[in-house]
């Protein structure tokens, strides 16, 4: 029998299996084990969490493959890793390592300010960040199998993720009320491929899985993103920059599974210790924002 690897269905299908789940940033095997024990559906292997990347400055690149391998060896759940926007060779390297999904991420310093990676060329699925529907559909047009909001990574402040999720889902709602002939001019305004605009209008949702990311720090944050229409949640610095990572991680997993049950949310929100300190995004200078990277 003929076997087909890396098909659209196999790549998007993997991302569909993470729905209703939490994907956690980890920097070593020990943290990965804590995430797995808490019920994470996958981990994102990094050298530093976004809050530390923000603090360190300089050029942030793909993690050392030995660190990614350490995480892969430590857990049985899927392992994702980040590559710089446009850096297709970092992507080739991590695909060769056997990573389960690549995140072409604005958290790292972009390697190309004009072009993103041609993701159709890869057998491994990609997740990409987006602030609005046009950006989401451009990434899907380039072959992304999963979208996440950009939010503002490493701030512990959910405000930007909320803005981006409301904008993406609100624009889809508008598309659904449009006449066929209005979709062409809308696709021009959005800067998005026409066929994907039509498909999104028909489905009433993105054609791929749509997660929330960038600033989620509490079970309440995670459940709010789910109620706003996210399929699942990425938590970056929010877990391992808090005072009690394993308890907070499990509480966020429970909050995503029971996102519309306030009684469960009240239970899991008790006694979590200190959340990460967080940053008021209005105090950040324009050039300190990560979300404006990529186009």
């Amino acid at each position: 029998m003929k076997v087909f690897k890396g098909t659209v269905r196999v790549k998007r299908g993997f991302c569909q299996m993470t729905k209703g789940g939490v994907i956690m940033d980890v920097i070593n095997g020990e943290q990965a084990g804590i995430a797995e024990d808490a019920g994470a559906v996958a981990v994102m292997a990094l050298e530093r969490v976004p809050a530390d990347i923000r603090a360190a400055g300089g050029v942030a690149r793909m993690a050392d493959p030995i660190k990614v391998q350490e995480v892969m060896d430590a857990v049985t759940i899927p392992v994702m890793a980040k590559v710089r926007i446009g850096h297709f060779v970092e992507a080739q390297i991590l695909e060769a390592l056997g990573v389960d999904t690549l995140d072409e991420s604005e958290v790292l310093t972009p390697a190309d300010e004009e072009h993103h990676i041609d993701k159709w060329k890869f057998k491994v699925p990609f997740v990409c960040g987006a602030r609005d529907l046009g950006e989401a559909l451009r990434r899907i047009g380039e072959g992304a199998s999963m979208i996440r909001t950009k939010g503002e990574a490493g701030t512990g402040n959910v405000v930007e993720a909320v803005r981006h999720m409301r904008l993406i889902i609100g624009t889809i709602r508008k598309l659904q009320n449009m006449l066929e002939e209005e979709l062409m001019s809308t696709s021009k305004e959005l800067g998005a491929p026409y066929e994907l605009v039509v498909e999104t209008a028909k489905l009433g949702r993105l054609p791929v899985v749509n997660f929330a990311a960038g600033g989620i720090a509490t079970p309440a944050d995670a459940a709010m993103m789910m109620q706003l229409g996210a399929d699942g949640v990425f938590v970056g610095s929010g877990i391992f920059k808090s005072s009690n990572p394993s308890i907070r991680a499990e509480a966020i997993v429970d909050a995503v599974a029971h996102f519309d049950d306030p009684k469960v949310l009240a239970e899991v929100s008790k006694n979590l210790g200190e959340p990460m300190r967080g940053i008021d995004i209005r105090t950040l200078a324009k050039e300190e924002l990560l979300q404006t990277r990529g186009r």
């Binding site: 299908g13 299996m17 729905k19 209703g20 759940i77 899927p78 997993v253 599974a257």
Partner: protein, 197 residues
């Protein structure tokens, strides 16, 4: 007919729409419900354990008390279908991955499973399978970090194999697949499950 999809994590919506489509084709009327609480289990005619991350779903069903409720109705004969992670959860024996993670198994089916039997995501694949119970037309199997059945007891009927690994099986009221029928437009597997008696 009332069908419940265990809905704490995984591709729940995909199963719900596959069941709706199969019901239309089989001319069966009824409803499909998203299950998040143990008290919703009683009164269901059919139950689906979807695909997803088996370690995550295992922890969540135990915390919700759904594991106990599932064992009860399964022993009374309620048909249950498990795909991928659902197959892992229904098994009574697992591999070293299951042991290492303290994976919860419902222990309902006399099978030993191996998680990620075909490798990590870059090795995930789709292929045509011969499943005689579904007729002569091949069934497209979508395998995503898929588990396989390493050993099956004598009460277990083998429905499909791929490269000598068992990838679909039935034990009385329990039906499992390594692959994801809910990711295809072919509803024959869901129809087979709805007709199971």
């Amino acid at each position: 007919m009332k069908i419940g999809v265990i809905g704490l994590q995984g591709d729940i919506a995909e199963h719900i729409s596959a069941v709706h489509k199969a019901m239309r084709e089989e001319n069966i009327s009824g409803e499909v419900v998203w299950i998040r609480k143990a008290e919703q289990i009683n009164g269901l005619d059919r139950i689906i354990l979807p695909g997803g991350e088996s370690t995550t779903i295992g922890k969540l069903i135990v915390k919700a008390g759904i594991d106990v409720a599932l064992r009860e109705v399964a022993q009374k004969g309620t048909p249950i279908m498990g795909t991928c992670a659902g197959l892992v959860l229904l098994a009574n024996e697992g591999d070293d991955h299951v042991v290492k993670t303290g994976q919860v198994l419902l222990g309902l089916m006399d099978i030993k499973i191996k998680r990620n039997a075909f490798g990590r995501q870059p090795e995930s694949f789709e292929t045509d399978l011969d499943i005689s119970e579904l007729g002569s037309r091949p069934f497209r199997g979508v395998f995503i970090r898929a588990p396989a059945i390493e050993k099956a007891g004598k009460n277990v009927q083998i429905l499909a194999k791929f490269e000598d690994k068992i990838v679909a099986a039935r034990q009385k009221n329990l039906l499992v697949t390594s692959f994801h029928p809910e990711l295809t437009d072919d509803t024959r597997f869901h129809s087979y499950f709805l007709r199971l008696h």
